[in-house]
């Protein structure tokens, strides 16, 4: 059984919570006691319908203020798949939260109110799906019941969105338009009888049929070493295993590999998944690799195939999204963490920031503030073994950590 991760984005009142509630309800994923608890809470708040947003608004402050502050994780499954929804707030620190929630997603659902069409938030949400290169985007044109389920209004909004897409960089993104009414369940789990003119899938049908993870096995193998296992016990006296999660590609027993950055060569002697020895590890597998010879390899290093070596980077150009209230400034030192590799880094140049509404770059900026996106270059104390984000999503990002607060303050996408 595989897992599909979904990020949902929408602005205030466009029915996002109702849509999620629908998906849960129609896949039998809400239990009676949870539903009753929501009904009770809805009544206490004086609303006369079951407010499904109460399902996701978990914090006291959120319920008091009727807003969503943080990313909530919601789970549902079908006989075919398990789904994880990262539900991100539409209006409160949207960029920071949406990037956090959507960073692992294979699918983004962008909600648009059929009456209003594309609004400013839609630009921001779509920009983030592009920045993150989320492979599938469902543009859910919702509240079709309020426009009499007419094809004409659907087409108007669809055209507006296509105009937006025409300016985007990541053209391989698969966009699926779906007219829906989450309130009445039209085109959510099952196809709508109200919109016979629409021949596409319902949201759930679309989710059930996407294929994605086979692609990551086609990429060059990247094995970041997390931990070195040396039991030093009688039985495993000479065992020296390298534990990690293969972030892309495939490793086979007998592959000739190179440790980076030491550039020492060896051969894969064994691949272990607990007590079981396997012939091959795929992208995403957490395994222990043993080598045929002793080489210099430890946490933060990377094992790659001899014929697929990336260039070690000490000067990194990246697009960065800032996540902290204290702005990013050129010349400042941070810790840069790329997978398990954490190194000292200095922001050497700050080129420009980007206006996500019209894709214009603004040159000569002094700083990049919370929720803003810009281009920077970073110099690192030790080499980073990375790929460009466009060529390898799992090996092309890093976070920046503030050395004072230790908090994660920025995320970078390597150019």
């Amino acid at each position: 059984m595989d897992i599909v991760r979904i990020a949902t984005a929408g602005s205030v009142d466009d029915g996002k919570s109702t849509l999620i509630g629908r998906l849960l309800y129609e896949t039998n994923s809400i239990t009676q006691d949870k539903l009753e608890a929501i009904e009770r809470a809805s009544k206490r708040r004086g609303v006369d319908y079951t407010d499904l947003s109460l399902l996701t608004d978990g914090l006291i402050a959120e319920r008091e203020q009727g807003i969503t502050i943080d990313v909530a994780h919601i789970y549902f499954s079908t006989p075919k798949r398990k789904y994880i929804i990262a539900d991100t707030p539409g209006h409160f620190e949207y960029t920071r939260n949406m990037i956090t929630g959507a960073s692992n997603a294979q699918v983004a659902i962008i909600l648009i109110d059929a009456r209003n069409g594309i609004v400013e938030q839609t630009h921001r949400h779509f920009y983030i799906t592009q920045l993150l290169r989320i492979p599938y985007v469902i543009v859910c044109i919702n509240k079709m019941d309020l426009v009499n389920y007419t094809e004409q209004q659907f087409e108007v909004v669809k055209e507006q969105f296509q105009e937006l897409f025409s300016k985007a960089n990541y053209k391989d993104q698969h966009i699926q338009f779906i007219p829906a009414s989450s309130l009445y369940g039209d085109n959510i789990a099952v196809r709508s009888k109200q919109m016979p003119w629409f021949e596409g899938p319902s949201i759930l049908e679309f989710l059930e049929n996407i294929e994605w993870h086979s692609q990551e096995n086609q990429l060059p193998a990247r094995f970041p070493v997390q931990y070195v296992i040396r039991p030093r016990s009688e039985q495993w006296h000479d065992f020296r295993g390298f534990a990690g999660k293969l972030s892309s590609g495939v490793f086979r027993k007998g592959d000739v590999v190179v440790a980076m950055p030491s550039l020492q060569e060896s051969t894969i002697a064994g691949i272990h998944r607990f007590e079981e020895e396997i012939e091959e590890a795929e992208s995403g597998d957490s395994v222990v690799v043993t080598l045929s010879s002793e080489i210099d390899l430890s946490r933060g290093d990377m094992l790659v195939k001899k014929e697929q070596q990336p260039e070690p980077l000490k000067e990194i150009s990246a697009q960065v999204c800032w996540l902290d209230h204290t702005p990013l400034k050129a010349g400042k030192n941070y810790l840069l963490q790329h997978g398990s590799n954490r190194v000292k880094a200095k922001v050497t140049n700050l080129f420009s920031s980007i206006n996500v509404l019209d894709y214009q770059t603004i040159d000569g900026v002094e700083e990049i503030g919370l929720n803003e996106i810009g281009y920077i270059s970073v110099k690192t104390a030790r080499p980073v073994i990375a790929d460009s984000y466009a060529s390898n999503r799992n090996n092309g990002t890093f976070i920046l950590i503030d050395e004072g607060s230790n908090s994660t303050v920025g995320v970078g996408f390597i150019s």
Binding site: I3, G58, H73, Y75, S77, Q226, I229, G284, L323
Partner: protein
Amino acid sequence: MSITTTIPAFPRMLEDESIYIMREVAAQFEKPALLFSGGKDSITLVRLAQKAFWPGKIPFPLLHVDTGHNFPETIEFRDWLVRETGAELIVRYVQDSIDAGKVKEETGKYASRNVLQTVTLLDAIEEFKFDACIGGARRDEEKARAKERIFSVRDDFGQWNPKKQRPELFDVLNGKINLGENVRVFPISNWTELDVWTYIKEEGIAIPSIYYTHKRNVIERDGMIWPHSEFLNTTEEEVPFEEIVRFRTVGDMTCTAAVASTANNIDDIIREILSAKISERGARIDDKRSEAAMEQRKKEGYF
């Protein structure tokens, strides 16, 4: 309940993710501990830790905060598991915190030591200088937990600040902390109750006997079946009677309700969950105290 209900396969990607998290903990922290309660979630954590560091031993101790109100079957199981895995076990007692005057025993019909264990836990963290505590909380259990990070930073007082959580992106985990702070780590954040059970089934993991059907003295209170024990304060009307039950979730004897069930094997347990109308934490009396009971306890240092 139909015998033909198909039991779904366990999604292996979840195990890969959890093992990755376990290894990050061992690599990023100096003194981690695994919070062990004897329930199925922490038993799952022990299995994941075994797998993550094989053929080496689990490189951190198990910490059990013993309320003194445990099911005896849980303690028996704990000691067996420790012998079986060769893991190191540390036990700290809520009774000691009570005797030292640090906490006061609750009184009345609903008295429980569930809230008290937070103080004992925080004291143990300080005593051993633990910088990371691995817990078995899952995001599907409860709505405050749905918003918590995998690496969740706690301040000097063990408190969680839900409004100031670090962004957690991709699978990069930032375990950098300031002196005095510590991190609660939740490797099975993305598992559901069903995932835990299908994993237990596929891996053949042993669990305490109270998860299976058995005869027990119980009382009925607030529409739930409470296990009768010397620790439970009962009224005169609450007359104990024998019932065929099992436990879906295991906490203290004073705050875990039983369910009427004849499930005596994992497949039947899974089928029962698949057809259940009540969520898992519906059987946790401690959560019913208020709409925000869990968030409130977490802010004070509960895991």
